[in-house]
C-alpha cells in the first residue's frame, strides 16, 4: 500500500513515498513563489522515483509551513507532529528531537510512540535557523556547503553575539577586520547558532537520545558545535531534511490503515 508525505518547507518542498513502511521514492523542489508548482514538481519527481502513478497512493498527508496549500492532500499534520514521528521511526530511542530548518529552529520531546509531549520553537529571529548560515556564508564569500568542513579546521573559540542576522553580518565584518581567519569565523558562526538552539532545548529539558533533523543537520560543522554545546552525542539521519516528509507519510499510512 502506497502513501505519501509532503513537507512544504520555507525553502524546499520534500516528498516521501512509502510502501508499507519502506521508503520507495523521494522528491524535492525549491519552494519559491509558486507553491502549487513547487508541490507538484517535488511530488511528480517522487512518483517517478518510486515508479508509481498518483492513483496508486492510498493517502497523502501534508506538513510544513505551507501544508494547507497542498490541494491534493487528504489530511495534514503539524511540523512538530511530523518531526516526532519521522525521527522516532528512524531512531526509536530518541526522546528529544531538534529540527533546524531554513527559517525556524524547533525542539520537541516525544514518547516512544512519536506522541509529542512538549515543544519549543525559536522566536521570529533567524539567528537560530539555516537562513542565518546562508547569510553568513555570503558575508564570508564562500559557498554555504563548504561552511561545515571549513569550520572543523578551527580549534579556536571566538565569541559572537549573533542576536540577529543583520547585526551578525556586521560582527563578521569586524572579525574580518581584526584578521580572524575564515575557519575561526565559520566556527564562531556555528557555535553561535548551536548555543541559541541548545538554550532552547534546555528550556524544554533534555532527555536522551537526542536526534537532530532538518536541513542544517547536513552541516557537519554545526553538528559538531551542537554536540560540544550539549555535551552529548547526537543521532543524525542520512537524509535529515526528509524526516518531516517521512513523518507525514507515516501519518498517512496510519490514516490509510484506519480507512
Amino acid at each position: 500500500m502506497y502513501v505519501a508525505g509532503i513537507d512544504m518547507g520555507a525553502k524546499f518542498v520534500k516528498v516521501v513515498i512509502l510502501d508499507d513502511g519502506e521508503i520507495k521514492g523521494k522528491g524535492m523542489a525549491p519552494t519559491g513563489f509558486d507553491l502549487d508548482e513547487a508541490a507538484n514538481s517535488a511530488f511528480n519527481s517522487a512518483l517517478e522515483n518510486a515508479g508509481i502513478q498518483k492513483d496508486d497512493l492510498k493517502h497523502i498527508t501534508s506538513t510544513g509551513a505551507g501544508k494547507k496549500e497542498v490541494d491534493f492532500r487528504n489530511t495534514e499534520v503539524t511540523e512538530v507532529g511530523a518531526a516526532a514521528k519521522g525521527a522516532i521511526s528512524l531512531f526509536p530511542g530518541s526522546r528529544t528531537i531538534i529540527e533546524v530548518g531554513a527559517e525556524e529552529g524547533r525542539a520537541l520531546r516525544s514518547d516512544e510512540n512519536g506522541r509529542v509531549l512538549d515543544f519549543v520553537i525559536n522566536e521570529k529571529c533567524a539567528a537560530g535557523a539555516g537562513a542565518f548560515t546562508e547569510a553568513m556564508a555570503r558575508a564570508l564569500e564562500i559557498p554555504v556547503t563548504e561552511m561545515g568542513a571549513l569550520s572543523l579546521k578551527s580549534a579556536k573559540e571566538t565569541p559572537m553575539n549573533a542576536q540577529c542576522a543583520v547585526f551578525a553580518e556586521s560582527e563578521v565584518v569586524s572579525l574580518v577586520h581584526s584578521k580572524t581567519s575564515k575557519e575561526d569565523i565559520a566556527r564562531a558562526i556555528h557555535d553561535a547558532i548551536a548555543s541559541r538552539i541548545s538554550s532552547m532545548v534546555r528550556r524544554l529539558s533534555i532527555e536522551k537520545d537526542v536526534t537532530l533533523i532538518g536541513g542544517l543537520a547536513k552541516n557537519i560543522g554545526f553538528v559538531e558545535s551542537l554536540k560540544r554545546d550539549l555535551n552529548m552525542d547526537i543521532n543524525v539521519p542520512d537524509d535529515p531534511d526528509f524526516v518531516g516528509a517521512l513523518g507525514a507519510a507515516l501519518v498517512a499510512r496510519k490514516k490509510a490503515k484506519e480507512g
Binding site: A65, V77, T78, E79, V80, G81, K85, I88, E104, N113, G114, R115, V116, L117, D118, F119, I121, E123, K124, L250, K254
Partner: protein, 456 residues
C-alpha cells in the same frame, strides 16, 4: 462641536526651592500638534479593524441574538462615543481608567462616567515608537500612548482626568508622560501583598482617588450615592458569575464572544451592560436546556492566561478557536476577572464601604505584579478543574515582563499537575500570525493525541 478644546492642565510643578518650574519633558504640546496629521490614519485603520472583527463575530454560525448589543457598543466610534460627547456637552465629567485596579464604583458614585482607555489599536503603535524609540515596551502601552498622542479616540479626548494605577514600570512611566495631556491620578499599587502596610496603603490610595474625583465634579460623594453605586456593581458582578455558571454547564458561547462581553464592562454604561448580560444569560440558559451547543464534547478545551486581550485586537482568540479549540475559560484582567470578585460590605458606613471597595480590587487580584502571587496558581487550578480544561495557552504581550516571568513559574506547577501549557509571545500587528498559528496547532495536536489510545 467644540468639546475637545485644550483643557486646562494642572498647575506647573515646582521644585523644592518653590520657584523654578520643572520643564515639560515628554509630550510638549508641539508633539501633539505634530501628531494630528497622523490621527486620520490611525482612526481609519482602527475603524476598519473594528468593522472586520465585528463581521467575523457576526459570521459565527448560531450567534446568540443578545450579542447584538455588545457588538454595537464594541464600535468605539459609534453609539457609545456619541453618548459620551452628549454627556460632556451637558457638563458631565468623564474619567479615563487604565487598569482593572481602578475602583469604578467611586467614579460612578460621583456621577461621572468611568471609561477604560487601555488600547488595542495596532496602528497607534508607530507614533509612540517615534517618541520612545523603544521596542522593549509592551504593545498595550505603546498603543495607548500613541492613541493619546494622536488624539485618535473619543474616550481619550473626552477624559477630564485619568486614573493610572501603577502595577508595572510601563504604566508608572506612561503616567508621567501623559501628565502633559491630561490630569493624572496615580494610584500606587503595593506589590508585596502580604506585607503589613500593603492593605493600609491601598485603602489610602482609594480614599485619595475619592477626593480627586470629588474635586473634579465639584461635590462630595454622599453615603447614599456610594451605596447605590456599590449595589449597581454588585448586580453586575452577580450577572457575571451567572454567565460563567451557564458557560460551565454547556458549550453555549465561544470564548471570542465571551471576551467581548467582558471587555465592554469597562466601556458600556454598567446598568445597561447588566441588563443586557441578563438577557444574554437567559438566552444561553435556554441553549443549555435545548442542548444547542456551539461545539461538541470532543473539542479541545483551552484556558487562556496571561496578558490582557483588548478589543478589537482579537488575533490570539481567533487563532485559537479557528484552529479547532474552545476557549472555555480564562484568567485575564480583560476577561473573567473583570467583575468576578465581589464587593463585600460588612457595614454600610462610609469607612465600611471604602474598605470593601479597596479590598475587592486588591486582595483577590491575580495580576502578575504581585509577589507572592499564590492566588493566581490556586485560581488557575480551580478553573482548570471546574471548566474541564485540556490545556492552558499562556499569552504574553511582548515586553510584559511580569507575565513572561509568571509564565515560567506557571509552566512548572502546571507540569506537576499534568496540564500541558503553551507560552506564546505576540505583538499587536499581524506579522506573527502564521508563526503563532504553527505553535497553536501543534499544541492542540498534543492535547488531542494525549486523548488517543492507539500507539502510533
Amino acid at each position: 462641536m467644540k468639546i475637545f478644546g485644550r483643557r486646562k492642565s494642572e498647575p506647573e510643578a515646582v521644585d523644592n526651592a518653590g520657584s523654578v518650574a520643572v520643564e515639560r519633558r515628554y509630550v510638549p504640546v508641539k508633539v501633539k500638534e505634530r501628531m494630528t496629521g497622523r490621527r486620520d490614519k490611525v482612526v481609519r485603520e482602527a475603524k476598519e479593524k473594528i468593522r472586520v472583527e465585528t463581521e467575523k463575530i457576526r459570521a459565527i454560525p448560531n450567534n446568540p441574538e443578545s450579542l447584538d448589543h455588545f457588538l454595537e457598543i464594541g464600535d468605539y466610534f459609534g453609539k457609545r462615543s456619541e453618548e459620551i460627547i452628549g454627556f460632556k456637552n451637558k457638563g458631565g465629567k468623564v474619567v479615563g481608567t487604565f487598569c482593572e485596579f481602578v475602583p469604578k464604583e467611586i467614579i460612578h458614585a460621583a456621577g461621572a462616567i468611568p471609561i477604560q482607555l487601555s488600547c488595542g489599536f495596532s496602528e497607534a503603535i508607530q507614533p509612540a515608537n517615534d517618541l520612545l524609540s523603544d521596542a522593549g515596551l509592551c504593545p498595550l502601552m505603546r498603543s495607548s500612548l500613541g492613541t493619546m498622542m494622536t488624539g485618535s479616540s473619543t474616550y481619550y479626548e473626552a477624559s477630564d482626568m485619568m486614573v493610572n494605577p501603577t502595577p508595572c514600570d510601563a504604566k508608572l512611566k506612561m503616567g508621567e508622560i501623559i501628565q502633559d495631556l491630561v490630569p493624572v491620578v496615580t494610584m500606587n499599587v503595593p506589590r508585596i501583598k502580604d506585607s503589613f502596610s500593603a492593605r493600609k496603603q491601598w485603602i489610602q490610595e482609594v480614599w485619595n482617588l475619592k477626593e480627586r474625583v470629588e474635586e473634579l465634579v465639584g461635590k462630595k460623594i454622599s453615603k447614599k450615592a456610594l451605596r447605590e453605586s456599590i449595589e449597581t456593581y454588585q448586580a453586575a458582578q452577580n450577572a457575571w458569575r451567572k454567565f460563567w455558571d451557564v458557560r460551565k454547564r454547556g458549550n453555549v458561547i465561544w470564548g471570542r464572544q465571551a471576551l467581548l462581553v467582558s471587555w465592554l464592562t469597562y466601556i458600556d454604561d454598567i446598568k445597561r451592560w447588566t441588563k443586557n448580560i441578563n438577557k444574554l444569560n437567559a438566552e444561553l440558559e435556554t441553549r443549555v436546556k435545548e442542548k444547542n451547543f456551539v461545539c461538541g464534547d470532543d473539542t479541545p478545551r483551552v484556558m487562556l492566561a496571561g496578558s490582557p486581550i483588548i478589543w478589537p485586537n482579537w488575533k490570539i482568540l481567533n487563532l485559537i478557536e479557528e484552529s479547532g479549540a474552545y476557549i472555555a475559560c480564562d484568567e485575564l484582567c480583560s476577561g473573567m476577572r473583570v467583575l468576578w470578585d465581589h464587593t463585600v460590605v460588612d457595614e454600610w458606613t462610609q469607612k465600611g464601604m471604602m474598605d470593601a471597595i479597596a479590598d475587592k480590587y486588591f486582595l483577590p487580584c491575580t495580576c502578575p505584579c504581585f509577589s507572592p502571587n499564590l492566588e493566581r496558581e490556586t485560581n488557575m487550578l480551580r478553573r482548570i478543574k471546574e471548566y474541564k480544561i485540556d490545556g492552558v495557552v499562556f499569552h504574553v504581550l511582548k515586553g510584559c515582563h511580569l507575565n513572561s516571568m509568571d509564565a515560567a513559574k506557571t509552566s512548572v506547577f502546571l507540569k506537576k499537575n499534568d496540564i500541558p501549557m503553551l507560552k506564546i509571545e505576540s505583538e499587536y500587528d499581524e506579522g506573527d500570525r502564521e508563526q503563532l498559528r504553527i505553535r497553536i496547532e501543534a499544541f492542540l495536536e498534543i492535547i488531542q493525541t494525549r486523548k488517543e489510545d492507539l500507539p502510533f
